[in-house]
């Protein structure tokens, strides 16, 4: 049941983000100061924000940002992580040692601390958020792939490819890396949840997407100043983040069950 729910949430959010802005008539940046902080009504289903902008319209645009950041971070992180992890695991020796030390240093920064630091110096923007999250994100994939490659490289079909004189790039690309795809797919699905939370955290701290662009994190941050008179500004975007993150977590768990029935 949980698996189906996760997939349903993810698909629903993607569809809503894709077609929502055409269905909801309001402009997400159009202001109506006379009606600012109004609660939900038939005209504005989720109410209006501190500048009189339609919360539903902004929520749908925010969904695009969340999904875009999640997808970009996961794509870049997994590509870099798979490459580094495969090289470290396959080559071993000093290459593995050096890459291992680099990973140790990056893992010494808890959670999104390094991303906060990078965005702080590079300046807040969508591009820098993706870059900062990818810088901390690839390590997880690299560790996962390295661990698997250590086992895969000893398998007979890989040994056979090497014995036949296949160059290292070919062995890695054709024989070793594809064997890690299922684990990487699970990690990437769970990574989407992590990236969405991280983007929202950075935006909440004022380090992510900048106004007037709508992002769930910035909407939540703006709503914090109006807890007394307009709690819907806090409740709505937070709920959206929590549900989408839960959806990706359920979907990731479902994939893990499918790819690795032992767990």
């Amino acid at each position: 049941m949980m698996r189906r729910l996760g997939l349903t949430i993810v698909v629903f959010t993607i569809v809503a983000a894709a077609i929502g802005p055409w269905i909801v008539p309001d402009d997400p940046v159009a202001q109506n100061l006379a009606l600012r902080l109004s609660g939900p009504s038939w005209r504005h289903l989720l109410g209006l924000d501190e500048l009189g902008r339609d919360v539903l319209a902004r929520l749908l645009v925010g969904a695009r940002i969340s999904l875009l950041v999640g997808f970009a971070v996961v794509t870049i992180s997994s590509m870099v992580g798979m490459t580094v992890g495969a090289i470290a695991g396959y080559r071993g020796g000093w290459v593995d040692d050096v890459l291992g030390r680099v990973m140790d240093v990056l893992l010494a920064f808890p959670g999104i601390l390094l991303a906060i630091a990078l965005v702080a110096v590079l300046g807040p923007s969508l591009r820098n958020v993706v870059l900062a999250l990818a810088v901390i994100g690839w390590v997880g994939y690299a560790r996962l792939v390295r661990g698997q490659v250590l086992k895969i490289r000893e398998l007979e079909y890989v040994q056979a490819a090497r014995a036949m004189g296949a160059p290292i790039t070919r062995v890695l690309v054709r024989h070793v890396v594809p064997a890690t795809f299922s684990s990487v797919t699970v990690q990437a699905t769970l990574g989407m949840a992590g990236a969405i939370i991280a983007e929202a955290s950075l935006s909440f701290l004022g380090l992510g997407v900048q106004p007037p662009t709508a992002s769930w994190g910035t909407m939540l941050d703006a709503g914090r100043s109006h807890l007394f008179e307009a709690p819907h500004l806090t409740i709505v975007p937070g709920f959206a983040i929590a549900v989408l993150v839960m959806g990706f977590n359920f979907a990731g768990d479902a994939l893990r069950d499918r790819f690795d029935p032992r767990l």
């Binding site: 010494a108 808890p110 601390l113 630091a117 990078l118 590079l122 806090t234 937070g238 929590a242 993150v245």
Partner: protein
């Protein structure tokens, strides 16, 4: 144990050096001139030159790096651009508040997690178990930057029981500690339940029951103690989440700790203070991980010989 401790200490040193190097390089990632970014584009050339000299940016990179490292050894993290005081002093004034918040959050997490986990294990599959696990699922899914404002809406705005921000009394600590501890509580509750269910299958629990101990007594006296070992491991693994969680929680509730100082430093482009805060949090994390590792080795001698 001494050999293991020395080995772990030696392994930690390169990581600390790497962390310091990365933090040193941060200011050099600032697009353009860091002095101009701090003072603004319209700042007079003389002021810019002064600030560059003060930050040491006019010296060669290697000399800057050497100066940075020797400063660190002496506990000198530079001078805050905004407060014009030593960065180390600014951080030291707020560390106590961050530690108070983090420890309170852990206590809250344990107080919530243990009863939930025990109830879940004892009544496995029944309504009470499902309710306990639903609560924990909620805790895992709710990001703290949403939970915090929600708790503030209910307990500060609607009920008026607790203050919405600030610090000073225990009442100020309740909402931040619950916000920070909720996710940890959810993870610990699930871990306690799973671990206790495994222990309850063990023969020594059956033997205890056969000797006439009640189910509750068998759980509390025997199974619970053993089931807590993986729970302690999870607490160690979650230290990083608690540390970064303090940054967001302190920002939500205007809690005057090191995390809020970091966010304020970023908004003022006080790069020496940003560097200092990042370095402090990262080093604290590395040192705490080291202590957790040493504690495991002390508790479980097999680890020392691996």
């Amino acid at each position: 144990m001494l050999r293991y401790t020395i080995r772990r200490l030696v392994m930690t040193l390169p990581v600390l050096l790497g962390v310091a190097t990365l933090v040193f390089l941060l200011i050099h990632l600032v697009p353009g001139d860091p002095a101009e970014a701090m003072l603004g584009e319209t700042a007079p050339a003389a002021d810019l030159a002064d600030l560059r000299a003060k930050l040491g940016l006019d010296a060669p990179l290697v000399a800057q790096y050497r100066h940075f490292l020797t400063g660190l050894v002496r506990g000198d993290l530079g001078t805050s651009f905004r407060y014009n005081t030593p960065v180390a002093r600014e951080i030291a004034q707020r560390v106590g508040k961050t530690a108070q918040l983090a420890l309170s959050a852990m206590v809250v997490a344990i107080l919530i997690a243990l009863p939930l986990g025990i109830l879940g294990a004892l009544f496995r599959g029944r309504a009470i178990d499902q309710a306990a696990m639903a609560v924990s699922l909620l805790g895992i899914s709710m990001p703290n930057f949403w939970l915090g404002p929600l708790l503030a809406i209910v307990f500060a705005v609607d009920l008026g029981w607790l203050p919405v921000s600030g610090s000073g009394t225990w009442r100020h600590l309740v909402l931040p500690a619950v916000t920070l501890g909720a996710a940890l509580a959810a993870i610990l509750a699930r871990m306690t339940r799973a671990s206790l269910i495994d222990e309850l299958r063990e023969l020594y629990v059956l033997a205890a029951r056969a000797r006439g101990l009640s189910r509750v007594r068998a759980v509390v006296r025997h199974a619970l103690r053993n089931s807590l070992i993986p729970v302690v491991t999870i607490i160690g693994l979650q230290l990083g989440a608690v540390l970064t969680g303090t940054i967001i929680t302190e920002t939500i509730f205007a809690w005057p700790g090191a995390g809020r100082l970091l966010i304020q430093a970023i908004s003022f482009r006080d790069y020496p203070l940003v560097q200092g805060c990042i370095l402090f949090i990262a080093v604290t994390y590395v040192v705490m991980n080291l202590l957790v590792d040493l504690a495991y080795a002390w508790l479980d001698p097999r680890i020392r010989y691996e």
